[in-house]
Symmetry: C2
Subunit: 188 residues, 2 copies
DNA sequence: AACCTGATGTCACCTGGTGCCATCACCCTA
DNA sequence: TAGGGTGATGGCACCAGGTGACATCAGGTT
């Protein structure tokens, strides 16, 4: 047992999630989070670049897994087939963290600042997927559009998923949404 | 000629655009913008809620025009047909401000904070368009997806438009992108 | 001439965020 | 066992974004 507990980052995340949930994001101060975690404001900013980022730890991992799914898909896959594979990968991860997903989602939905951060994370994810699609031979525009459709589907499906009383699997919701998107795009 | 010039808001916008362009967004201070406009920091924050918003004045107008275009479209229009109408409305507005569009776009592209703000503006626009689509009888998911495809197209097309040396009209670029999206969605 | 109103300035204050240096527990080595 | 790294943390000063409260002042109104 040293001077510092080994899991400072996790403690900060838990403290932040708790306080954001109890008092709301804006009403919570970084000093308050740090205090609850037994640390100081200065240390908080060593682990997280800002007050928002503490809720988005792990988004790089999701990005990597979705990109990997695109890379690993069979050569015959179409653009949206590749997107489907990426969404399946996301589904696995989402089900793992279902316990916290609802709370986290409500917190973000209540704060414009946090929504902004979430949107830029999605944009980053789309850029990464677009890169993977280009690497598989898709044209620039096609790759970009397909990737953005992917994050669109993910976003819409995620909202439905956390609000669904039946706890329908994310994968199923996402597939339905993808099918519906196809239908919309092919009509008229 | 009173104590105050009548166009404080415009002066602040021009000062901000100039300074963001010259020194960059992060290196520019609100006090500096205000000084350049012959005002004070406090007055800046009476016109704009924060340092980012000064670049997004007029986005409500664009939103209204795109929504109006959806409402005014012929009854026979499909979901993506309605989106096309909204994009045509956007095209008119974009061509009006082409002069500043490039500078503004470069400034935003250089700042993560500003990209976040732009993304949430797009999300707000998508929500407004989705509302208009629902009002025309589309289902909830279809309306949301179609609206998000609309902002996706707008985003992609806008980037191409400002970078295009041939100054191809926005409308044409957007229509091409929309057609390509249709193709992607109907393949595989 | 007194009054009202709206735009602005002034000032104090809080919080997010950062740079710099001190501190202290632990580990390694002589 | 003493001493010297090393890395995580604390402490402090500071800057900038943002806000509330109050003063000021020009112009129009009565």
């Amino acid at each position: 047992m040293g001077r510092w507990q080994p899991d400072a980052r996790v403690r900060l995340q838990e403290a932040a999630l708790a306080l954001y949930g109890e008092r709301g994001y804006e009403e919570t101060t970084v000093a308050g989070i740090a205090e609850r975690a037994g640390l100081t404001k200065r240390t908080f900013f060593r682990y997280f670049t800002d007050k928002r980022e503490v809720l988005f730890w792990g988004s790089e991992l999701l990005e990597q897994q979705m990109v990997a799914a695109i890379e690993a898909a069979p050569a015959s896959a179409s653009a949206l087939g590749l997107i489907g594979a990426a969404l399946d990968a996301a589904a696995v991860r989402f089900e793992e963290v279902r316990e916290f997903a609802g709370t986290r989602h409500r917190i973000i939905a209540a704060s414009r600042e946090l929504q902004e951060r979430e949107l830029i994370k999605a944009a980053s994810l789309a850029a990464a997927m677009a890169g993977a699609l280009r690497a598989r031979g898709l044209g620039d525009t096609a790759a970009t559009l397909a990737a953005l459709m992917g994050t669109t589907i993910m976003h819409v499906a995620f909202k439905r998923w956390v609000d669904d009383p039946d706890q329908t699997p994310f994968q199923q919701i996402a597939r339905d949404a993808l099918a519906q998107l196809r239908e919309i795009a092919s009509t008229g």
